[in-house]
Structures are given as structure tokens and as C-alpha cells.
Symmetry: C2
Subunit: 458 residues, 2 copies
């Protein structure tokens, strides 16, 4: 009785500890209990050795169990609770001498589990099993790096005094052809019938107007930036394009910032460079091992210590012509051009500024030194090409009014009518950023549940 | 020339400083330059006094300007740059003796600016001008508290070892009637034509199946929690209901967590209580002034130092009957019942556990002590009633299979077939949480761009 109580006591205090915590804070001789999934197993004469992960870090704990105590359903992929005493392995690592291992859920390949132990699968195969993908070593590292990057965004922008606002997903602005859009309406026919007015299409019944999924939070962010001078939004945006490239999704994440009292494109390039570098440094410093495990190829991130080159559009065109003399500026840079330009600049993310006005949307600000140009920028990066787009915004009421593409945007004009300020903003494609630091070819492999044409599983 | 250079130098170093920064780090005698919007003005014999805010904090800087230097278009709401020397006001506060004030954008009520100086407007009036709402004092405080709460979520859950994952907005699960859903399809008829196959409705053409906006990330979160044992998602969710209550929106934010190896409802109530209390403490400690300014009424938050009561469903019914003897358990608790129960428990957020099985969805776990009950919980809070819902999830493959509402969910069953673990999770209605700590009556006034039936402005 007393002995049982002591047994209970010695496990009790550690029952909730994560594996990372055990490896960091416990020492040889401590009694602990851990929970997780079996990663790999090696059977020896007397003992079975296996690694356990709880998925909250890349850390694993090796467990050593006498063959006589091994449950029959202990296989890679199964979930377990193990209790025992920590000791040092011959290599000097902490390992658990298990007194008891309990299998919570078995995992049997012959019953349909798609990942056999010791086998390597390619990303296309693993992606067929989205609901099980977080159990694979590689993808769980990707998920943790995605989390690290997300937190780094919030941390960095708060350090810089920015306020996180939530721009809407549903919008009645059709975004002026910034991309093809999805329309939204209630699925329930009864609701539609109740709510519709005479002469309304069913797409208009619920909201009194057609409503779309946002392709960008920029215009809403600009509105908020006229009261709170530094704002950002970070969330999903949508494109209904029929594109299946390795760089496009129908649902993807964008980080957008808008800064009031910004009147020089140089302030915007500094802001973006600082953001991309600091996010990446935070990940490099805090999660170097997970970063390596998540990478598809070895990625050179030495650009975090270099200055990003800035090219004018004209300079970039000249470089593109070195690749292809028939470069057609009408059609703009191809993905190959973008890659070539970045390579030409030493594989450092590279800004292109001073864009011809006709290539960019109505809200971008005319350059003071050249009225045929706008203060727009693209940031091109290794592996992905364009990763950030941005501009100073036209803050002259008169000029904006002249070019306003829709009456629907009277409210946007109001921003320049009352307490107007120069602002500048940008949008970073979050998945492309992850592809860029992870060297992952397909955008579908850096987001938990990718959606693209003809694919919306789960 | 030299003098000009010195003038330039003395402003240059402080040109990017926020007002909060000036008030914290500068002192009387320093030359500074600030940017912002004029909040209030008082004209005196010799000078005009006005407060300036940059919106990034609730802090304002008082500026004193000789009437002879006052630009004619300096009015409340206008945007300005001011330069000068800091000094101490008679009250001992830092104020700016301006040498120069430049109006960047005028703001004239007679030209249509809807907020006249010194006038108080009610929330319904202000809400008509969503694009200008961030300029009002009250709503800018609400936006900053929303930001503070958002950051507190990320900070707290990372401190607890949770990984932030992004569950999808677009889903082919119709969420088993968890609420009425929105359907999504491309707006462009050409795209639809290109992509549709014979016998497909236009709703199915793009993704090969009907696709909906997510009403909850729970099922996807559960999938991920079987590889990463502590996960959360925080983002917009959607309901296509025809409801115009003060507590419902068509687009609202939910914080959802899922924790593997959680097998006792007490672990879940502890997790939720800890989360709600720690989020609130972070806001109270870091932003006490903004919190007060954002509040509609004085809100008693002393519950952050109290234990949240836990009632069983039966106990809660008994309390509801004290309010209304004809309480009908078939219909469940009304909002009035919920408020009464919270009041009865001392206006402390109150858990209700042990729910009758037939009142809750298929995935909730049967109580071990009573097979007619499930291990579900609601957290009721002052001002809003239900603010969190949650449960342990049924992890028995057999029991779940019996109750699975749709073949579409075979993948969900797979989670219990391979490496199954007990899990528990919850969803916190983020806007309701804000209403609860701010005492704000309408949910439309705690989100930047509210969407509800017949309303999707901007």
C-alpha cells in the first residue's frame, strides 16, 4: 500500500511533462512518465529500443524495454504511455528504462495505415493522406516551422509598434479584378427564400448584395491605418483561378501591413527587409533543428546578414534580357526571369522598384521624379520569385478620384478627403515565404490542408 | 546653412518615434517631431492647445502653438506633423511647444465628415461609417484591446507548449448541421465553364464537390492533434443564419484548441479556466488604460482571482427553474437562463458539465459514470452567456463508427483506427470574450467589419 503510494507520487509530478521538457529539465535517476507516438523500433536480444515523440517539438526520447514486458501491439505509429527511470545511454543521452509501456491505440499497416516503418514516401504520396500527414516526421517539422514563422510575425510586428487587426473575409468589394474571386451564399434554400426580396438573385439575398471571399485585406487595412497608424492583418485570402502551378493555391495566407506617414519607397523597402530578416532570424535562432528537418534541400539563408539589392524596373529588364534577348516587357517578368534576376543578384532577395504605371493598380502612388512610374515594389526571392508586393498609396484625393475604377469605392476616396496621410503597405505570401526558407518545391506541402482546382479534401 | 543642418540633425533622430515612445523616453528640453491626428482643440488668448494621437496607443501628446503660427485648416480630425521642443505643462506632463505645425490632410465636418468635435455619438451611428470608425477614440481602444487579446492568445498558448496551426476556411465537410453554412463557387462564368464536367452543378465544378465555409476547425484540428499533441487554430468561422441578435455574426473569430492524451473533463476545465484568466490578466496588466476606455460600462473582472464554479447539467437545470418554474429542458437554456445561472454563481464564469447525450453532437465522449451523459462543457460568462464550448472526444473506434453521421467522415474514423489517443478540445467565441471583458452590448462593436444578415458593407 505504502509502496504503491510512493510509486504513484514519484510519477505524479511529471505526468504532464512534454518530451522537450523531460530532456531539458530532468536527469538520470528521475522517475517519469511520457506519452506519445512510437517513431522507430529496434529489437535486440534482451530489450526493444524505440523512440517516442509527442509532436510538440522535434525532440524524441529513446525508450528501452525488456522484451518480456513488450506489449504485442507495440508498433511504429502506435500511441503509448511509458513509465520508468531515466538513465544515460552509452552515448550520454537521456533514455527511459521503462517499467511499463501501455499501448493506447495500435497502428497496423495491414489494416490500411499508409506509412510503413522505415519506408520513405514522396510528398505527392503523403499528400493523399491529409488527415494523417501530421504523423510523418517531415510534415510535423513543417507544421512547427509554420507555427514558428506565424509567432515570429506577431512578435516582430508588435516589437515595431504594429497593431494586429482582422480584415474581413467576406466583402462586397469585388477587388477590381485583382484576381478571380469566389462568390458566397447560404446553402439552405429555406433561408434564401425567407431572406430574398423581389428582383434579387440568390447570390444577393442574404447580404443584399453579391459577396465575395477577400483576395486581399489591403483596402480595409488602409481604412484602419487612418486612425491607427501602424496596422497589419494576417490570414487566409482566396483566388478562384484555374491554376495548378507549384506556387498557387485557392486558399493561402497573406501577411499585409499598412503604415501611415510613410512617404518614401525607401522606408517601405527597409520595413519589408527588416521584417523578412527578423522573422527568419527568430526561426534560425529558436528552431535550428526543426528548420533543417523541414527543409527539402539545404537552403542558403546567409542573406539574413546581407543587404537586399534594390533594382529599378529598367535595371531588372536589362538583366532579364541577358537571359532572353526577346524579353517582352508587355508580358512582364516570367517566373524564369524572376529566378534569373535573383540569381544574378547573388541569390539574395531582391527588390524591384519604379514600376511603369500601366503595370500596376489604380491605388499606387505616382513617383515624384517620373509621372510614368509608380512607387511600387516587388520582392523576388530564391526558389519562389515574387514573395512580397507593395507600394506607396496614392493619397491625393484628386488623382485618386480620376482613376477610381468603381462607384462602389466612394468610401475609399473618403479616406483621402478627411485627415488624409501618405501610407505605404505590402503583402507577403506566407506559403511562398515558407517555401523560400524551406526549399520546398510545392506550395501544397507547406500548408496543412491545401485547396486547389478540383481538390478540396476533408 | 550650418544652422539649418543643426535643425535638421536635432529632428532627424526622433522623426520615427511614436507618441507612446516620446512620452516614455524623451524629456523636457528635447527637440522632437511627431505625427498624428488632432483629437481636441482649445483656443486661448495667445496659444492654441491641441492633443495629437497616432492611434498606436491610447496616449496623446498635448501641443501648444502660438496663434500666429496656426494653419487655417488645423481642425479636429486633421492629420499633422509638428516639430518643436518638449517642456513640462503646469500639471507636470510633457507637452510640445511647437515651432511648426503642418497640416497633411484637412478634415471638415461641413464637407461630410460625420464626427463633429466635442459631440458624442452612439454605437449605431458610428457603425454606419465603418471606414472611418478607427478614428473615434472609443473604437480605436476596442481595436487595440482586440489586438492585445489576440497577442495574449498566442503568447499564452505558446507558453503552454501549443502549436498554432491553420485549419482551412474552405471545406468539403458540411459540418453535420453544426449550423447553417455558406456555399462557395467561382464568380467567373468562363472559369466555371472551363472546369465543369458533365452532370456537375456549378457549385461542384471548381473543386469537384460542393464546398462550404468552415463553421469550426475542430475536426481538422483533431486530425492534426494525432501527430502534434497540443494544437490550436484561431481565425474566422462562418454561419449563414438569419439571426440578428446582439451575440451573432455571419463572420466571427473562434479560438479552438485540441489536446491529445486528455482523458478527464477536469483537465479541460482547468485548461480553459487558465486560458481565459491568463489572457485577461495579460490585458489588465499591460493595457489597463485602454481597457477602461474601450469598456462601455465598468466591468467587474475580479473573477481573474477566483475559482470558476463547475455545475453539472442537472444542477444548472435546478437553478434555471428558480428563475422560471416552467423551464423546459427539451428546449435547453435560454440566454436569460444562462445569465441567471452566472449571476447565481456570483457573476463568475461558470462551467456546466455532464450534458445529456441527446443534446450534443456525435463526437462527444460518453461519461464513464453515466452512459446517458457526455463529457461536454459550456462556459457561461457575465454579459454574454455561453463563451466557450468543449468536450472530450469519443476515441473508441467502435462507438464512433456506430454514430458517424456521414460516409464523408471515414477519414475522421481513421484517426481512431491508427495510433488513437484520447483528446479534448474547446472553442472560444472571440468576440463574445471581448464583449465579456468590455461590457459591450453588441457583437458588431468589437470587430472591425461586422457582417450580419443584409449587411456586408465595404
Amino acid at each position: 500500500m505504502f509502496k504503491n503510494f510512493k510509486m504513484f507520487r514519484r510519477y505524479y509530478n511529471s505526468s504532464a511533462k512534454s518530451i522537450a521538457n523531460v530532456l531539458k529539465n530532468k536527469e538520470s535517476g528521475d522517475f517519469i512518465s511520457v506519452q506519445g507516438w512510437v517513431k522507430s523500433m529496434r529489437k535486440m536480444k534482451e530489450n526493444v529500443f524505440f523512440d517516442v515523440s509527442d509532436g510538440c517539438s522535434e525532440k524524441r526520447l529513446q525508450i528501452l524495454l525488456n522484451n518480456s514486458l513488450k506489449p504485442t501491439d507495440l508498433t511504429p505509429g502506435s500511441s503509448i504511455i511509458a513509465k520508468g527511470k531515466l538513465s544515460l545511454s552509452p552515448k550520454g543521452d537521456l533514455e527511459l528504462n521503462a517499467e511499463e509501456v501501455k499501448v493506447l491505440g495500435e497502428c497496423i499497416v495491414s489494416e490500411g495505415y499508409p506509412f510503413a516503418p522505415k519506408k520513405q514516401y514522396n510528398a505527392d504520396y503523403i499528400r493523399q493522406y491529409l488527415h494523417l500527414r501530421s504523423r510523418t516526421n517531415k510534415f510535423s517539422s513543417v507544421l512547427r516551422i509554420r507555427d514558428a514563422a506565424t509567432f515570429a510575425v506577431h512578435e516582430h510586428l508588435h516589437e515595431q509598434g504594429y497593431i494586429n487587426v482582422h480584415t474581413p473575409i467576406l466583402t462586397s468589394n469585388d477587388c477590381e479584378g485583382a484576381g478571380e474571386v469566389f462568390t458566397v451564399f447560404p446553402d439552405n434554400k429555406e433561408t434564401l427564400k425567407q431572406m430574398s426580396k423581389p428582383n434579387q438573385s440568390k447570390e444577393e439575398a442574404y447580404f443584399n448584395s453579391k459577396v465575395f471571399l477577400s483576395v486581399s485585406g489591403q483596402l480595409h487595412l488602409e481604412a484602419l491605418s487612418h486612425g491607427i497608424s501602424k496596422v497589419y492583418t494576417f490570414g487566409p485570402t482566396f483566388r478562384a483561378e484555374n491554376s495548378r502551378s507549384r506556387l498557387h493555391l485557392s486558399e493561402f495566407y497573406m501577411l499585409e501591413t499598412e503604415t501611415a506617414f510613410m512617404s518614401d519607397i525607401k522606408q517601405l523597402t527597409d520595413h519589408i527587409e527588416n521584417m523578412v530578416v527578423e522573422m527568419t532570424k527568430k526561426i534560425l535562432n529558436k528552431y535550428p533543428e526543426d528548420l533543417k528537418k523541414a527543409q527539402d534541400i539545404e537552403v542558403d539563408l546567409s542573406w539574413v546578414n546581407k543587404k537586399f539589392p534594390i533594382l529599378t524596373y529598367e535595371e531588372a529588364v536589362d538583366i532579364a534580357k541577358q537571359r532572353d534577348v526577346s524579353f517582352n516587357s508587355e508580358e512582364g517578368f516570367t517566373k524564369e526571369d524572376e529566378m534569373f534576376i535573383v540569381k544574378h543578384c547573388g541569390n539574395i532577395p531582391t527588390f524591384i522598384i519604379d514600376w511603369p504605371k500601366e503595370k500596376k493598380p489604380f491605388y499606387m502612388k505616382e513617383c515624384t521624379h517620373d509621372s510614368t512610374k509608380v512607387d511600387a515594389l516587388d520582392l523576388l526571392a530564391p526558389n519562389v520569385g515574387e514573395v512580397v508586393g507593395g507600394s506607396l498609396r496614392e493619397n491625393s484625393y484628386e488623382k485618386l478620384k480620376e482613376n477610381l475604377p468603381s462607384e462602389n469605392l466612394e468610401w475609399y476616396l473618403d479616406l483621402r478627403k478627411f485627415g488624409s496621410v501618405p501610407t505605404g503597405g505590402c503583402g507577403l505570401g506566407f506559403e511562398r515565404y515558407l517555401q523560400m526558407i524551406l526549399g520546398i518545391s510545392s506550395i501544397k506541402d507547406v500548408i496543412p490542408f491545401p485547396r486547389w482546382p478540383h481538390n478540396c479534401n476533408l
